[in-house]
Structures are given as C-alpha cells and as structure tokens.
C-alpha cells in the first residue's frame, strides 16, 4: 500500500512530523535504524529545578505516546534504507529490517542476559528502562559467532540470534529525512584533553548519567563548562553556531547547583546566546549561580593533583591556571554522516555547512518530493525542532494534495 510519507528517522523530528501528518489524516511509515524510537532526545535529562526550565526533553515522551496510539503511523525499528527509486508522488524504497533479537512479548525483563553478556554495551536497555536489544556492532555473535551466552541463558526463550534480516519494499508519495545530527566529536579539538585528561566529559555524557540518576558529585565540587566545542570553529569546518549549547550548559549548571548547593560552577564562553524571553533578567539570575568567564581555554591538561587544569587568558591578558574537579565540554551539533548518505540515496544535496537541505530553515530539498525535518537540516533546539517538523508536515501535506490533484486530472 502506498503511504503518504516515508519518514527516515524516529527521533523527535520524525515522530512529530508523523504525528502532525496523522492529525491531517495522512499515513506514514517511520524507518528507524535503532532498536528503540526516540533518537538523541531519549538520552537527555529533564533540567527542571523547582520549576520547568524549558529544555524540551520531555516533548519526546509526549509525542511518543501520541504516535504509539495512532493507527496512521507505522514504525519500523532496526531498519535501514537501502535504495530509493521513482519520483515525487511515487517513490519505491527498499528497506532492510534486522529482526528483533530479543522478542519483547517473551522477555520478562529479568536481566539474566545482561548479567551473562561479556561485552559491555552489547545489550542495550531502552531509554524507558523496559525492554532490551542487542547492539549488533558490539555483540560477539555478529563479529565472529563466538558467543551465544544471552540466548543460552534466557529462560523465556526470548533471545534469537539466528533470525535473518528481511527486505521490505515500501511505496510512498513523499520522503522526509529526519535523521538528526551527530554530536561534535571532542577529539576534533585535542587541546581540550577529551579522552586524555581524566575528569573531562561531554555535556551529553553528563546528561545521560543524570537521566539514569547515575551521577553524584562525589569529589566533584568545582565544575567548568566549556562552550563552543565543535561550534563556531572555522578551523575544523564548523562555521556556525550550534544554537543549543549555551542553553543546555547553563540549564545543566543551574540544575547541578540546585541539587547540590555547595557545588561551584563556571562557564567559559565567547558570546552567550539568548535562549529565553526577557534574557537580561535571566542572565542576572544566572550570574548569581554560575561564574561566567569570557575566555575559551587554550588548553585543558592534567594538573599536578590529577584533576583537569584549565589554561586560559584572564582579564588584563594574564595567563590563568585553574583546577576543576570536572570539566564539561559543551559539544555542538554536527552534520550526521549517515544523514548525508541517506541524502545521497534519496537525491537531496547538502548545504554549505554540511547539513542536508537548503539554507535558512527550509523544509524542502534539492529534490522534488523529498523534505527535511529537524536537525538533519541544521542546528536547532528541541522546541525549534518541533516547530520545524510541523512546518515540514505542512509542506508534505501540500505536496501530497498537489500530487493527488494531478493524479485526478
């Protein structure tokens, strides 16, 4: 059966676009490569203190609940787009669906497989703590067929490593690319010491730990946030602002201060981007809680006591040295290589910054009938991603009704 839209990516952009289309009476299929829907937002934490701080992370759960109940949306997990033929109004897509290795109907979530699995991270828990999946990139069975521990352990007979992928042929009038972004790789800026200096983490890693309630300050009493890691850096080809990092770093800093009042937090920045209304007032509040330092460190190194030490230009041009217990790199939003590849498959070209689609905030691409939604098109906050996905749904709906008018004529 021909669907109105084939949506590539089951993160917040793809889900919201599918839901808006469903509200308009249009049917769509979401193709998601991971075992669980939700994408990046599913690993972000709520940043509410005593009140909501408007990070938007919970919008994912909102839309997911709506999508699950909609009979106009089909979700294909573990699935990858192989090729696309045809044209606007009549696309034929070939999708490979890897089978669910752990059958959710049988799995009773006992955790026995997790206990026996010898490879950390090969068994992936859903962001909602219910349900498990196998990461085929890590699982030994899919590397050299050397381990079947999980299948042998499972008393429920829920694990099946032997099922083979299925090839699906899908027809759709339009295609929406909603395959998201890649967090900037902190290794691209080696002077920040990521992977070399203990106590240097990325903002996303911290968020993920906070989401799992797995982070305690322990000895971390002094925390530094470093802005523009992989953003506003023409030397590594990122000639743009990622637009979200000032917001998430300051929200995280305030969240930590709220939970652990004796922590001290500092933020090292170039320019603080407004992310809320009445930002003058907000900034004054923030200054009470977070020390703002206008300087990007020239180096982060292992200090004499083992904790990370920042070297930066202080006021009056003095070189300053300051030790912290934890340094959080506010990594930005980069183009996703797999999105660019998907763009190649569907025939949508990339823009000057490497994101798929045109400049500005356009939802259309270089190919008729192919659209983009969310951060695949460029940096966006969660709220902006939702706005963009609604815009995309509108453009898709117009395109579909134009196609059906033409078909009727």
């Amino acid at each position: 059966m021909k669907k109105d839209a084939l949506i590539l990516g089951g993160g917040i952009a793809g889900l919201w676009c599918a839901w808006e289309l469903a509200r308009l009476g249009l049917e769509s299929t979401i193709v998601e490569t991971a075992a669980f829907p939700g994408g990046r937002a599913a690993r972000l934490c709520c940043k509410a203190t005593d009140e909501c701080r408007r990070c938007g992370a919970c919008l994912l759960e909102d839309v997911l609940h709506k999508v699950v109940w909609s009979d106009r949306i089909t979700m294909l997990l573990h699935s990858d787009l192989l090729q696309v033929q045809g044209e606007s109004g009549d696309f034929h897509a070939t999708v490979s669906q890897r089978p669910a290795r752990i059958v959710s109907d049988r799995c009773n979530d006992c955790g026995a497989c997790e206990a026996t699995c010898p490879v950390p991270g090969a068994l992936v828990r859903s962001p909602w703590d219910r349900g498990l999946a196998i990461d085929e990139q890590k699982c030994r069975w899919f590397q050299d067929a050397s381990c079947r521990a999980c299948q042998e352990t499972c008393a429920q007979d829920a694990v099946n490593l032997d099922r083979t992928p299925e090839i699906l042929e899908l027809n759709a009038s339009t295609i929406v690319l909603a395959s998201g972004f890649k967090p900037s790789d902190p290794h691209d800026t080696p002077r920040f010491g990521y992977g070399r200096v203990p106590g240097v983490v990325t903002g996303l890693e911290l968020e993920s730990l906070l989401r799992q309630e797995n982070w305690e300050p322990g000895p971390s009493r002094k925390i530094a946030f470093i802005q523009c890691v992989g953003s506003r850096d023409a030397k590594i080809g990122r000639n743009y602002c990622s637009r979200v990092c000032c917001g998430y770093a300051l929200r995280l800093a305030r969240l930590l201060r709220n939970r652990f009042p004796d922590l001290s937090t500092s933020m090292f920045y170039m320019d603080i981007q407004s992310f809320e209304r009445d930002f003058d007032k907000r900034l004054k509040e923030i200054e009470q809680e977070v020390k703002l330092v206008r300087s990007i460190p020239s180096e982060i190194r292992k200090g004499a006591d083992g904790s990370p030490e920042l070297v930066y230009q202080g006021l009056d041009d003095n070189r300053e040295f300051e030790s912290f217990d934890l340094v959080v790199l506010s990594v930005g939003i980069s183009p996703n290589q797999s999105s660019v590849e998907l763009g190649n498959i569907v025939g949508a070209s990339s823009n000057v910054d490497g994101f798929v689609g045109g400049d500005g905030e356009a939802a259309v691409t270089s190919r008729c009938g192919v659209f983009v939604a969310g951060t695949v098109q460029g940096p966006k906050s969660i709220e902006e991603t939702v706005s963009h996905a609604i815009r995309t749904a509108g453009e898709v709906a117009s395109c579909v009704s134009k196609i059906s008018r033409e078909e009727n004529e």
Binding site: A48, E213, Q273
Partner: protein, 548 residues
C-alpha cells in the same frame, strides 16, 4: 454586578449559533508576514480578513483588507468567533473560525539606554535601513560617511534577528563606497542560520568588532557630532572615535493590540505581553485557546526564517479536522447542572483555555475544552462534572474498585497527571508499584479534597498527587492549583484525625520517573513512621486507661 459590567470583563457570552464561519480567518497583520500569511491562506481556500497596514494594490483574491481597522472584541470559540472591528468610519461585526496574531514586532530604538538623542549623525537601525532603501531619507548624504559605528546589544541583550539586520546594513554600505564600520557589542547573537558565517565574513572585510563586558563606550558630543571614548577590550588602550554616523540598535517587543485576545483567555496573564506562555507545552503557533494562533513576534519569535515556518504551521493547524478526536483515556466534556449553577463565574475566570461561556448558565465549548477538569474542581456549587472516559466509572468508584480489588492495606493512591506523571509511571516498571494504585487524571488541577478523602475512605494509607513542574502544565496553572489544594487538604486532614504527612504533592515530568520513585519511597517511610506513632499512641491510651 450589572450585566453590562459582566460583559465587559468576560467576553465569553454564548455566541449566536454557528454559521459557516469555519473557513474564515481573521489575520492581524501589519507587514509582509501578515500579507504572506493571508495570501497563503487564500490559496488554501480560506476567506481571509486582513487587519493592519497594507500597501494598496497588493491584494490577492480571497483577502478582504481592513488596513486601518482595530480589533475591539472577541466572543465565541474556534470555528465560530464573533469579532468586532472598529474602522475609522464604523464598527463591524464579523464571524470567523480562527484568529491569527501575526503583527510585526514593536521596534523601539535604544537611544535612552545610552543617553543619546536622535540627530543628524545619531540614527536608529530602522532609519538607516529606510535611507538605504530610498536613498534620500537621510539628512546626511551617504558618501560623506566614513566611520560608521553600530551599537548592538551593548547594555541590554539583543536578538540574532537584529544582528542580521546590522550585517545587512554594513554589507549595503560597503557596497556603496569607502567605509569603515565598527560594531560595539557585548554578546554577539549568532544563533540563527548562517549568521556566524556572515559575521566572520563581515570581519574579514574590515569591520572592527569591540566586545565589552562592562559599561562599554562613553558617549559625549562635540559641535561636529557624537564622540565615543572607550578602552579597547583586547588591546587595553584608550581610544576615541568621532563617527560620521552612529547607528543605535533596537529592541524587538511583542506587538500591542493583543488585549482582546488576552481577555478571551484567562491564562494569558501568565503569558503577557506575549500571546503564548513561554512553555514547551506550546511549541508551535498554538496558544492555550483553540482557534487563536500566534505567529512570530506575538509568540516571542523574531527570526524571519522561523516566522516563515510559522506561516506553514498556521496552515497545518487550520487544516486539521475539527474538533479533533480526543484520546480515549480523557473524560468527556464537562456537563453543567443548570439547577446548581448560580452564574458565579468562577469557572469562566479560571478556565485556562477560555472554554466556558454563559447565557443562563455556564457552558463549556467542546472543541476548546481540553478536559483538564479545573472548572469541575473549582466550582463552589459542585455544578460541573466531567463525564468519565468511555466505559469507565466515576473516579471515586474507580479508586474504591482498585483498592478493593488489590486489598487496601498499606496502599498509596497516586493521582497522576496523564501528560507527565502517568507517562513516567509507565517506565518505572518493577521499581515500585506493588503498593501503588495509579489513578491517571487529565490534569493534577482536577484533584481536590473529595478525591483525596475518597481514597482514605476506601482504605488507602497515603495519597500522592503528581502534577507537572511549574511552567510545564498544559493547563498553565493546573499544577499550581493542585499543589495549593494539597496544602489545604493537609490542614484539613489534621482536623479529622488523619496525619497530614499521609498526603503529598510532587512535581514530575514524563522523563523523570526517578522523581516519582523517590516521592513514593519517602511517602512510604512517612506512612510507616506515622503508623508506628499512631499505634504507640493507641497502646499508650489503652495502657493509661488500664492503670487507674
């Protein structure tokens, strides 16, 4: 209170029966955005009434122009609003299905912040833009300019949209002759598509940027014009500059004339001066009231690229079938018992979505009502009831059934907001749950004394009311009302011999199951402690009774 006074306060008199107004849209415009939106809507088959400054001769078919009209009053609901427009000559009553606020931002030059006054050499960004457009609006010929100083977000924060305009102006000036631009700023706002790249290019073409953390330059005036003195933030050298032109940046504010819209939506006081609260519950153009949409400045968005998306989002919102089918788990629309309603208007004043009108008694509009249930709980006459969701008994019966079914001993009844806490509960799985009786409610704001007492009457040991975090309630203040009420109930419980510690309120989000788990564990501890104390007291009483 006189009837006329009531009408002037609450503009929600029951409207006349709906005509076919659903395809008519009132657009409050004023610039290109309003016109683009109007013609887009016309193409989509809507009949548009466009209010606000429009150049003559740019009309498109299906758009009625009211260039000098002012929106005076709104009544009714989505699909059948009655609006009163005042023009220079008369007062028109029109019926429309939707109202879209798409006025441009109010632009205020920041002269005062710098104690500057407009003069031949001191102009606002808008003045410069007008001059560049027409070529003759400026008092001073452009070719006499060499040093052009721009102030941008120096004393108060600015917007990327304004920085884009500064860059536009610099590029145009550079295209017209020899010029040395300077930009004086604090935080450059580059968080918009392509802005960082344009900033770098502008710098490479010779514009000097000075970023200040402190007060910035000091302004004086000489017979020749303004004089600026400042310490270069990088070189730490004292500098002075006598610019040939000093361009003052501008503040972007929400439009005025939203007053009639505010009045139709009691929750608007949490959003004013914007039309939409700053809440992720309203991520697009929709406001808390169905059929009233906010585009661009009225929702706090100033980036022209995103505003273009807003236009598309309006089309999406207007094309949705109406009323949309509600989730099955939500109750039906509130029913008012005409015999009990005394027209006290509590519900009208409190409905966050402006869904309640009145003629002989209060009545909720089915398409506007989100079923939050705040009205039912707040009605002092208990005249309003939410019809239970299909095939579900009334809430007190549900509570009793749940407790009877599972055995009441040690049980905690949890009233969970279906938009946050109920989702969180789903992902808790096996961590808690044995002793928890979850009762999903449409909004925590619908939970009150009766519900909490009925839980205790049915034998529960404790009650949790779990709402959204402040600022994240889909009914704006439902969660605040719930928290207040739990406080009141605690006071009351003490009087009837139930330990107030047995009731608690907790703020949650759908992605914070942990918060709910902690709350339940804490309540369990409290209950154990209270049970012990109460048992001790009982046995002491028995003991003291035995001795004499």
């Amino acid at each position: 209170m006189k009837a006329s006074a009531i009408e002037s306060i609450f503009l929600t008199r029951k409207p006349r029966p709906k005509e076919d107004a659903a395809l008519r849209v009132l657009v409050l415009g004023g610039d290109q955005t309003g016109m683009d939106l109007a013609s887009r809507l016309a193409v989509e088959g809507f009949e548009v009434l466009l209010v606000g400054g429009t150049a003559v001769g740019q009309t498109s078919e299906g758009v009625d122009l009211f260039p000098d009209a002012v929106l005076e009053e709104i009544q009714g609901f989505v699909g059948g609003f009655e609006v009163i427009l005042r023009t220079r000559r008369d007062r028109l009553t029109e019926r429309v299905g939707f109202i879209v606020a798409a006025q441009p931002a109010r632009i205020v030059p920041k002269y005062e912040q710098h104690s500057l006054t407009k003069s031949r050499k001191v102009i606002s960004l808008s003045d410069l833009e007008a001059g560049l457009r027409t070529g003759n609006a400026l008092e001073q010929p452009l070719d006499e300019w060499f040093h052009a100083a721009f102030l941008y977000g120096l004393k108060t924060e600015s917007q990327p949209a304004v920085f884009a305009r500064v860059l536009d102006a610099i590029e145009k000036l550079q295209g017209q002759g020899a010029i040395q631009p300077y930009v004086f700023t604090r935080h450059l706002k580059v968080a918009a598509a392509g802005l960082e790249r344009r900033y770098r290019e502008c710098r490479e073409r010779g514009t000097l940027f000075f970023k200040f953390d402190d007060a910035g330059p000091f302004f004086d005036s000489s017979p020749n014009g303004p004089v600026m003195t400042f310490t270069d933030p990088l070189l730490h050298l004292e500098m002075d500059l006598e610019p040939d032109v000093l361009v003052v940046d501008e503040e972007l504010l929400p439009p005025t004339m939203l007053e009639p819209l505010f009045k139709s939506m009691p929750s608007s006081r949490f959003a004013a001066p914007f039309l939409k609260p700053e809440s992720t519950r309203f991520p697009g153009v929709e406001t808390p009231k169905a059929g009233i949409l906010a585009v661009g400045a009225s929702r706090g968005v100033f980036d022209p690229e995103i505003i273009r998306g807003d236009i598309e989002a309006v089309i999406v919102a207007l094309k949705r079938p109406m009323p949309e089918p509600m989730q099955e788990s939500l109750p039906g629309p509130p029913e008012v018992d005409p015999g009990k309603c005394t027209m006290c208007l509590t519900c009208v004043r409190l409905c966050p979505h402006g869904a309640i009108s009145f003629s002989k008694h209060a009545e909720a509009d089915g398409a506007t009502c989100t079923r939050c249930g705040i009205c039912a709980e707040e009605c002092p006459m208990e005249a309003i009831k939410l019809e239970p969701a299909s095939q579900q008994p009334e809430m007190s019966v549900r509570i009793r059934n749940c407790l009877v079914h599972t055995g009441a001993a040690g049980k905690i009844v949890a009233f969970l907001c279906s938009r946050s806490a109920a989702h969180a509960m789903e992902s808790i799985g096996r961590q808690i749950g044995e002793n928890l009786v979850p009762i999903p409610v449409p909004c925590a704001g619908t939970v009150g004394l009766t519900h909490i007492l009925s839980a205790f009457e049915s034998g529960a040991d404790g009650v949790i009311v779990a709402g959204c975090f402040k600022g994240n309630c889909a009914s704006i203040y439902g969660t605040l009302l719930a928290e207040d009420r739990v406080g009141q109930v605690r006071g009351f419980l003490g009087e009837v011999g139930i330990d107030p510690g047995r009731v608690m309120f907790v703020s949650t989000a759908s992605n914070t199951p942990g918060v709910l788990v902690h709350a339940v564990r804490n309540l369990e501890l409290t209950i154990t402690r209270v049970n012990n104390v109460e048992q001790c007291e009982k046995s002491q009483k028995r003991g003291s009774g035995a001795i004499p």
